[in-house]
Amino acid sequence: MNFKINRDKLFRAILYGSAFFLIVLIFGFFITFILESSESLTKFGFGFITGKQWDPVDGHFGALPFLSGTLITSFLGLIISFPISLMIAVFLSEYFYKGFFHNVIKTAVELLAGIPSIVFGFWGLFALVPLIREFQLSIGIEPYGVGIFTSAIVLSIMIIPYTASISREVISMVPTDVKEAAYSLGATKFEVIRKIILPYSGSGIFAGALLALGRALGETMAVTMIIGNSNSMPTSIFSPGNTMASVIANEFTEATDSTYVSALIEIGLLLFLVTALINLVGKYIIKKTVQF
């Protein structure tokens, strides 16, 4: 009997320990970032976020080009990807909810999530960049090919699986009797989807989009390869730029002096905070909109 109780206590201790460990880990991350970036933090203060110039030679570091690069590529990617993902989800849960075709598409979506980002980068570089270049030539702007727009497109494809599979999951959870009630009033399938299913699963779909956005914000490899790695403020969605993640990846090995390293780490801290903030705001919105 005593043994049983002890075992139970041990089990509880392990559970508590694991959960607590996670909190320690997050704080650990946070403290390391702050300590390592303290030089840059004290030197540039708030000007680090608003500064438009990133000049390692001059020792002048402002992260606004990267902050805007990250936000623009991610949100643009989400805007492009969201309608497509949602339509895939509706298609899979309401039109082809079983059978061969359903499985093929579902597997394809899952496969998309499993492709390493470097492969996406390669694809973007060799397939998408020439196309964008053609397009830029045809509308008479500088044909970089690489840039913010190209990155947003590749990101939009990379994040499809997140929105699509979560949306599919929540859409298929809409109770049959609620859908039947709508059909029995003479609604068409389209009307049921638009006025019953989507409102019902709205907050879940939003959560899926949020997860996708989080993925886009932090995506490094693919973006680094196709964004053009320019450290000046982007002037249009076609101009080359840099994101927070890509500038770290690109310049970490070149950072020679301590201010430079510390500034890059501060970018890491900033990315960490931006991602956390967007997640918290998103969770708050979900909480506010769930009514049943």
């Binding site: 609620v178 029995s184 009033l185």
Partner: protein, 252 residues
């Protein structure tokens, strides 16, 4: 017959290879309540779900024969029209959880994209809620979510929602099976009162309920229509031995 709202002729229903309903003939008169009785699995629900073509939402179903609403075969109309003319109330109360009470009642119009003036909507909502005896209980909370109501109130809300479309027929699929006795008797009273507005077909497990609220009764057994007649007559002097056995509790 002029009073005939619904006329089911030689109607058979197949689920895959299995025949669930066998050559049903049944005519329903205006402003009467017809109870459909029978043991589990006899095809009661299948029959009423075929009347508003809800069975088409299920794959692998097939029908034979015709169902006439007045003079039109419902299988020659489009299902949308059929469902607007034939309302349905389900076993479990299923108000739309995303909508408030007002929007639930007017949902049929909103779903179908029918634009109405606010004043017309107000009239329909009040009228439907009064008919379903819910108005006095909810008139001060019309913009609250329908899911906060009690089970019985939710079911009356669903009845109001169906009535708002001004259907020719209201199909009720065991509407009280998920409710407590008090709410059940409330719904039964309501059905009796609604007779003057709408023709009703009610599937019920409960013989007492059928006796209390229906004018006519139908006894289905193993997919066959065994007997159809005035409720009183069917309960007191059943013509078929199977009806008698069912009514006296030998099976079912």
């Amino acid at each position: 017959m002029e009073n005939q709202v619904l006329n089911i002729q030689n109607f058979s229903f197949y689920y895959g290879e299995t025949q669930v309903l066998k050559d049903i003939n049944l005519s329903i008169e205006k402003n009467r309540v017809t109870a459909i009785m029978g043991p589990s699995g006899c095809g009661k629900t299948t029959l009423i779900r075929a009347i508003n073509r809800m069975h088409e939402l299920t794959e692998n179903t097939r029908t034979e024969g015709i169902i006439k609403l007045y003079n039109e075969d419902i299988f020659e109309l489009d299902p949308i029209t059929v469902r607007r003319k034939i309302g349905m109330v389900f076993q479990k109360p299923n108000p739309f959880p995303t909508m408030n009470i007002y929007d639930n009642v007017i949902a049929g119009y909103n779903l179908n994209g029918i634009k109405l003036k606010k004043s017309d909507k107000d009239i329909i909502v009040e009228d439907s809620l009064r008919k379903s005896a819910l108005w006095d209980e909810v008139k001060d909370n019309l913009y609250k979510k329908g899911t906060f109501l009690s089970g019985g109130q939710q079911q009356r809300l669903c009845i109001a929602r169906a009535l708002a479309m001004k259907p020719e027929i209201l199909l009720l699929d065991e509407p009280t099976s998920a409710l407590d006795p008090k709410a059940t008797s409330h719904i039964e009273e309501l059905i009796k009162e609604l007779r003057s507005y709408v023709t009703m077909l009610i599937v019920t497990h409960n013989m007492g309920q059928a006796a209390r609220i229906s004018n006519d009764a139908v006894f289905l057994y193993l997919g066959e229509l065994v007997e159809h007649g005035k409720t009183k007559k069917l309960f007191t002097t059943p013509q078929d031995k199977r009806t008698e056995e069912y009514l006296t509790g030998k099976f079912g």
